[in-house]
């Protein structure tokens, strides 16, 4: 069995890639993909920790734990909704500005 630490390491790597993608890229579609990466990094951590707790709980004669898996479904739902809203925003922005470069969207500066 793959140790939990490996999953968590993969999750951290995915999260870092996602965070860097958000900070570096100027295309909003790529930024959305990066955000999905970060969310899935979190999902991976959820599932990994839940499996670890289930193993500990069963070893002690207890019940299996599913709360992490359930939470993953919530995160997926929220991510889908967020993408739906975000894509709609991007389409609208493109229609008004004829560009979707994220650095051109700076009219709210101080």
């Amino acid at each position: 069995m793959v140790p939990v630490a490996d999953y968590i390491g993969l999750s951290a790597i995915l999260f870092t890639i996602g965070a860097l993608g958000v900070l570096i890229r100027r295309n909003p579609l790529v930024i959305f993909m990066s955000i999905e990466l970060m969310l899935n990094a979190a999902n991976l951590a959820f599932v990994a920790f839940t499996r670890m707790y289930t193993a500990l709980s069963m070893a002690g004669g207890g019940q299996p734990v599913y709360s992490g898996q359930i939470f993953v479904f919530f995160v997926m739902t929220v991510a889908a909704a967020e993408v739906a809203v975000g894509l709609a925003l991007i389409v609208t922005i493109f229609r008004t500005k004829h560009s979707i470069d994220i650095d051109n969207l700076n009219s709210l500066k101080g």
């Binding site: 900070l23 100027r26 994220i102 700076n106 709210l108 101080g110």
Partner: protein
């Protein structure tokens, strides 16, 4: 079968009546307002009768609590009604006479508001009248001195409101503050009495740790044995309250002026019921008074001196209501003397009969005044009367002046007969009610060895018969001395029927406590255990009857045999000269009080206003000290340099600093969403780093 559970309704009925009239009265007609008010008082009377009926088979006092009031430490006071023979007797008198006067007032006020041209006050009058009945019922029905005091103040308030009922005019309807001043005089004189009552209550609480009647009276003998001075002080302070409410020397001066109120008010409040509250208070406190004979003697002396003093003034009055007012003071003196001598039954008996005949006399006087006003009205509208000397256009007509009357026997026959009944009852002629009750007081004085008091009262009784004779001759006999008297008209039935009922009571009221039967004495004995059974003394009865007849004869010689002519000086004035002037001017008591107290009070007020408030506080303290210091400080602190270099510079620099801080922070708000995300990341890393590596 007992009806004690109805006890609170003696108060609730009038309160309901007044609330209905207060809220809806402006939409009702006069008849409806009058009916509701009379019904409220009448139902109260019915309840009183039921309570009295219940007491016949159950003579012990019944206490009926309707709510908690004050519970502090050992002081336990509730809203408790006390139904015993004494309070029930007062309830019967108050609501019985009160109901008759309500009915009479429907007729009287109907005309009064028209003569004074303000129809809206009809409603207000009956609201006040019902409020009075409610307050008086609390006074007589209360189970503690404090509840009695609530009623005591309540009736004082109603008295004030009703004396000043026509507050913007004088008794003749001219614009003036005379009526309003009379109301204030009553209020202030009563405040002095109330001060005595309150001090007595405080002393009582201090001595007995209670204000509830039974608890106070139980401890009275023990405290009187250990500390007689304390009980004397309590009783004398109570006496001060009595002199205020019951118009005794030295506080009687408000009652004559109280005649400024409408006549039903004079009858109900200032003759029949409220002013007898003092007599009730002494009777109620009998257990305290009997322990200190010295205080009892002072009470009796105050009563007797007042009786004589007021009777002399009544002789010299020309106003029909003023005569009756001084007569009331005098008769209250009889009652106070009676209860002071320990003849509690005699005093209460006189209270009841006096309520009948003095109520009757005042109401009849009201009928006479209305008759005169009708006659005057008739003249003003129908006959210009050219060439007659007696009527000048600017002359103000006084319908209550007996010098304008005369010969009313023929024009107002019903009023004449009932007035005569009342006058004979007041004069103490056998077999009218006043004969029995006054005689019982005189006999008590005689048998009790109070010789001085007996003679004071006997002379007062003589004068009583004299001034009532004088009034009858002047008002009803001879020839009319004013055209209005010649055209006077009899009053309608709503006025005359209550008069006839009261006349019957004045005639038969003596049956309450006939010698040998003594119904009232035995009735009151159950509550006031100190009552000595009365005894008929033939010599006393003969002397007082002889004196009364002699006085009437004398009044006939002076006023009846040769009636007063128009503009003629009173024959007694020709005989007595300055003495009569003294009587006419109330022995200058008002002037004396002005010189001794009121002018001094005005001086002190002027001093307080001009010197202390004006010169010291306003001119010196406010202007010089506060305003001057402030001006001086602001001159220093707010000159150009301090203002611009100190205060302005400070606040401007605050503003500049804020602006600079803002423009510094503005750089972070650059609009690039990725830089915001970077800051978020840095922040999260910083916080996590702190949490992990701390």
């Amino acid at each position: 079968m007992t009806f004690f559970y109805l006890a609170p309704w003696i108060v609730f009925f009038p309160v309901i009546g007044l609330l209905i009239n207060l809220v809806f009265g402006s939409r009702f007609s006069e008849t409806v307002i009058g009916t509701i008010a009379s019904l409220a008082s009448g139902l109260s009377f019915v309840v009183s009768v039921l309570l009295a009926y219940s007491l016949v088979g159950h003579p012990e006092a019944v206490r009926w609590t309707i709510g908690e009031w004050i519970h502090i430490g050992t002081l336990q006071l509730d809203w408790t009604f006390r139904v015993d023979t004494l309070s029930t007797m007062m309830m019967l008198v108050v609501s019985g006479v009160g109901t008759l006067i309500h009915i009479y007032a429907v007729g009287y006020m109907h005309e009064d508001v028209r003569f004074k041209s303000d129809l809206k006050r009809f409603q207000r009058f009956f609201v006040f009248l019902n409020l009075f009945i409610a307050a008086m019922m609390i006074l007589v029905g209360g189970d503690s001195y404090l509840m009695l005091f609530v009623g005591w103040e309540g009736v004082g308030l109603c008295s004030f409101l009703l004396i000043g009922f026509w507050y913007e005019m004088d008794t003749l309807g001219r614009p003036s503050w005379a009526n309003s001043n009379a109301a204030k005089k009553a209020m202030i004189a009563n405040r002095i009495g109330d001060f005595g009552f309150l001090i007595a209550s405080f002393l009582m609480f201090w001595a007995f740790h209670s204000l509830q009647f039974d608890q106070v009276f139980q401890q009275a003998p023990a405290i009187a044995a250990s500390n007689p001075g304390l009980i004397t002080a309590i009783t004398l302070f109570l006496l001060l309250g009595v002199t205020g409410k019951s118009a005794q020397i030295p506080l009687f001066v408000w009652l004559p002026d109280a005649m400024a109120g409408p006549t039903p008010v004079s009858a109900l409040i200032h003759a029949a019921t409220m002013v007898t509250a003092g007599v009730y208070l002494v009777t109620r406190s009998a257990a305290l008074y009997v322990t200190v004979p010295a205080a009892q003697f002072i009470v009796a002396l105050v009563g007797a001196v007042t009786a004589l003093f007021a009777a002399t003034i009544a002789v010299g009055q020309y106003d029909i209501k003023k005569v009756l007012a001084y007569s009331t003071i005098s008769q209250l003196g009889f009652m106070v003397a009676g209860v002071g001598m320990g003849a509690f039954a005699a005093g209460m008996f006189h209270l009841a009969t006096h309520a009948f005949f003095k109520g009757l006399l005042f109401l009849s006087a009201g009928s006479v005044i209305l008759g005169m006003e009708r006659g005057h009205h008739h003249l003003a509208h129908h006959e210009p009367r050219k060439g007659t000397k007696e009527k000048h256009p600017e002359e103000v007509f006084d319908p209550g002046d007996m010098r304008n009357m005369g010969g009313l026997r023929k024009t107002m026959p019903v009023t004449f007969w009932v007035y005569l009944t009342g006058a004979l009852a007041l004069a103490g002629i056998f077999p009218f009610a006043g004969f029995w009750s006054k005689d019982e007081i005189l006999a008590s004085a005689f048998r009790g060895g109070f010789t001085a008091i007996y003679w004071l009262l006997a002379i007062a009784a003589f004068l009583t018969a004299f001034y009532m004779g004088r009034q009858i001759w002047m008002v009803f006999f001879g020839e009319p001395r004013h055209a209005a008297a010649a055209h006077a008209e009899e009053s309608p039935q709503v006025i005359t029927v209550p008069l006839i009922v009261l006349a019957a009571l004045s005639l038969l009221g003596g049956a309450l406590d006939l010698p040998g039967v003594e119904t009232l004495t035995h009735w009151l004995e159950q509550t006031v255990v100190f009552i000595k059974p009365g005894e008929f003394v033939w010599s006393v009865a003969l002397i007082s009857t002889g004196l009364a007849l002699l006085a009437i004869l004398l009044s006939w010689l002076l006023y009846g045999r040769r009636p007063l002519k128009v503009g003629e000086v009173d024959p007694l004035k020709q005989m007595l000269g300055p003495v009569f002037t003294g009587m006419e001017r109330k022995w200058f008591v008002d002037e004396l009080y002005w010189a001794l107290f009121l002018d001094r009070y005005v001086d002190v007020s002027h001093f307080a206003a001009d010197v202390i408030d004006g010169r010291f506080w306003h001119d010196w303290f406010h202007e010089k000290v506060i305003a001057g210091t402030y001006n001086w400080l602001s001159h220093i602190a707010l000159n150009r340099y301090a203002d611009q270099l100190g205060i302005d510079a400070f606040f401007n620099s605050l503003g500049e600093w804020t602006k600079e801080a803002a423009s510094g922070l503005r750089r972070f708000q650059n609009g690039f969403v990725r830089s915001y995300a970077l800051f978020v990341l840095i922040g999260v890393v910083a916080i996590l780093g702190y949490l992990i590596f701390k």
